[in-house]
């Protein structure tokens, strides 16, 4: 079964062809990002005189450093709050069968269905009245609430499959429920915490619609909004735009390739939830 046959070889060839289709846009992206604007050769032809001027100009013109900082702040802040409150909430909801527990569970599950578009405009008004528009804090507050249903759902599914014996033992030893959660339950949740961390970090980092609404017109931008603004400003200077796109992709791919095993397992881990 594991012999390398002609069939395996042709399959390998087909799969590599698929990888080339996936890689083609990336090749063009890099090719044009390193090309001087005066070079008008076909975009598929390798650039003959590569230059890094586009990157320097994009970095200086686009205020991408500030956007990168905001994106890191918003993602890290949101993910910490989301994981803390969702895992804590999942604990009683998974363990207690009383009516209040079922009710809260159903309420949170309702949140899985509601598309954000419904809440977006009224919330825009609330944020405006509270003076929170245009600040990264509004985004952290926002994602912390928005991601609760999905994250709690992941934790509840995982908790229900965990035995209660350890918690009982800790209670008999005199731990309070909060101590049981902190020292017994939360450490056992590690696999699903990794999944929740990966999925939340990627969706917060990549979100465009929310910061487009809540940060529009301010100088505080996250990476996706800064890029959209950049494209709007340098309409057809594609070499410059491509350099900006590369700058925004590099940190994401660097983290991805460094932690690829945990990240891929994180995405696949939703399967068991």
């Amino acid at each position: 079964m594991n012999r390398y046959t002609w069939r395996t070889f042709s399959l390998e060839a087909v799969m590599i062809a698929a990888a080339l289709v996936v890689g083609f846009p990336v090749y063009v992206l890099l090719n044009l990002a390193f090309r001087a604007p005066s070079d008008l050769a076909s975009p598929v032809r390798p650039t003959t005189a590569p230059t890094i001027n586009n990157f320097i100009e994009a970095w200086q013109q686009g205020a991408l450093g500030g956007a990168l900082f905001n994106s890191i702040l918003v993602t890290a802040g949101s993910v910490v709050v989301i994981l803390a409150i969702s895992s804590l909430a999942a604990y009683p909801l998974a363990r207690v069968t009383a009516r209040w527990s079922r009710g809260m569970f159903l309420l949170i599950m309702l949140g899985l269905m509601l598309p954000f578009q419904l809440a977006a405009l009224p919330l825009y008004q609330t944020m405006r009245d509270l003076g929170l528009l245009g600040t990264p804090w509004a985004l952290i507050l926002f994602y912390s609430g928005l991601q609760v249903p999905f994250t709690t759902f992941l934790y509840i599914g995982f908790l229900r499959a965990l035995p209660v014996d350890f918690e009982d033992a800790a209670l008999i030893d005199g731990c309070s429920h909060l101590e049981v959660f902190r020292y017994v339950v939360f450490p056992m949740l590690k696999p699903i915490t990794v999944t929740a961390l990966v999925l939340n970090a990627v969706s917060v980092w990549n979100d465009f619609f929310t910061p487009l609404l809540y940060l529009s017109g301010s100088t505080q931008q996250t990476m996706p909004v800064a890029i959209a603004g950049f494209v709007g400003q340098y309409v057809s200077q594609w070499n410059l735009i491509f350099a900006a796109l590369v700058i925004s992709i590099v940190p994401v791919l660097a983290v991805y390739f460094a932690l690829q095993r945990s990240i891929i397992n994180g995405f696949a881990g939703g399967l068991k939830g």
């Binding site: 390998e12 063009v28 909430a89 419904l118 919330l123 992709i249």
Partner: protein, 308 residues
């Protein structure tokens, strides 16, 4: 002295067992619930109310207009078209992305030498910001873009198209870009499903002499049921809510050829100031999401049970 200690110990045991019976306290859920209510529940409920008003987003004086927004929608060709596009995009993405993802997963799950590298590489686009990849594709798919250059270079010059400017084609270009980015996501979930199938099962059916097609259909496919459930739900809901890629690739154009419910909601609210009407569109979006996700979940869960 001794009896007092015993008494105290008994009291402790009683309180511990009561605590155990009652389980962790409800207020553990309070922080999550409070934020969720503030960010999602209350604004959604208010949204539901505004859908029946003529609110413009600023003026505190607005009036209740009953079902007028929904009736207007019925007579608004842009809205009807956007609903149709939304459904068409969601269904096409679901079918194509999962088919491609499944084939990739089967390929990567074989004994080819490059399988580990390919898995990491094929999944990579799924972690990149969608708005960024969409801007990249906007250039690639332009009249003088790399896709047309490539077609010219390999002698398929007659296949050149204005991929995003042709109203007949633009919607399918959007679908293509999304499949390009997320097929690897479906692949990873199918792959996790494939790898959870014990090797003995493969060996047993191989010994039975079943053809590989037959093996896949009657043995592997039913065991992949949980992966199908997740993948189909993720892609159809993602498709229905689609905003970023359309915004970056076409802004809903040319004309309204690629407008989805989400882009129309955005335009009506922030460029036309019709908040009430825009929220009524969001209510329609909510209804579509709820019906499809519950319906799909019920059907798939039944298949999953039947398969197990």
């Amino acid at each position: 002295m001794a009896t007092a200690a015993i008494e105290q110990r008994r009291e402790q045991t009683v309180t511990v067992s009561r605590r155990r019976r009652k389980g962790p306290p409800w207020w553990f859920a309070l922080p999550a619930l409070a934020l969720f209510a503030f960010i999602v529940l209350v604004p959604s409920a208010r949204g539901l109310y505004y859908a029946f008003t003529d609110w413009d987003g600023l003026d505190p004086n607005f009036s209740f207009v009953g079902l007028n927004n929904f009736r207007d929608m019925w007579h608004d060709p842009n809205a009807v078209q956007a609903i149709w596009h939304t459904l068409l995009i969601a269904v096409s993405i679901t079918v194509i992305q999962n088919l491609v993802g499944l084939l990739l997963a089967l390929g990567v799950n074989s004994s080819i030498k490059s399988r580990n590298v390919l898995r990491v590489f094929l999944f990579a686009p799924a972690v990149v910001t969608p708005i960024v990849t969409a801007f990249l594709w906007r250039n690639l798919l332009g009249p003088d873009g790399a896709v047309n250059s490539l077609l010219g270079a390999v002698g398929l010059g007659s296949w050149r198209q204005d991929w995003l400017g042709d109203p007949q084609l633009a919607l399918w270009s959007v679908v293509g870009v999304i499949v390009w980015q997320f097929a690897g996501y479906s692949m990873v979930i199918f792959l996790a499903g494939l790898q959870s199938i014990p090797a003995e099962i493969y060996e047993a059916v191989a010994i039975d002499g079943a053809s590989s097609m037959r093996r896949f259909w009657s043995v592997v496919r039913p065991l992949l049921a949980p992966a199908f459930t997740i993948n189909l739900l993720l892609s159809i809901i993602g498709g229905i809510k689609l905003f970023d890629q359309v915004y970056a690739l076409t802004r809903g154009g040319p004309g309204h050829a690629t407008d989805t419910l989400s882009t129309l909601i955005y335009k009506d609210a922030f460029t036309l100031g019709e908040f009430g009407y825009s929220i009524a569109l969001a209510v329609v979006l909510t209804i579509i999401v709820s019906i499809t996700s519950t319906g799909q979940y019920v059907v798939l869960a039944r298949n999953e049970r039947a398969a197990s």
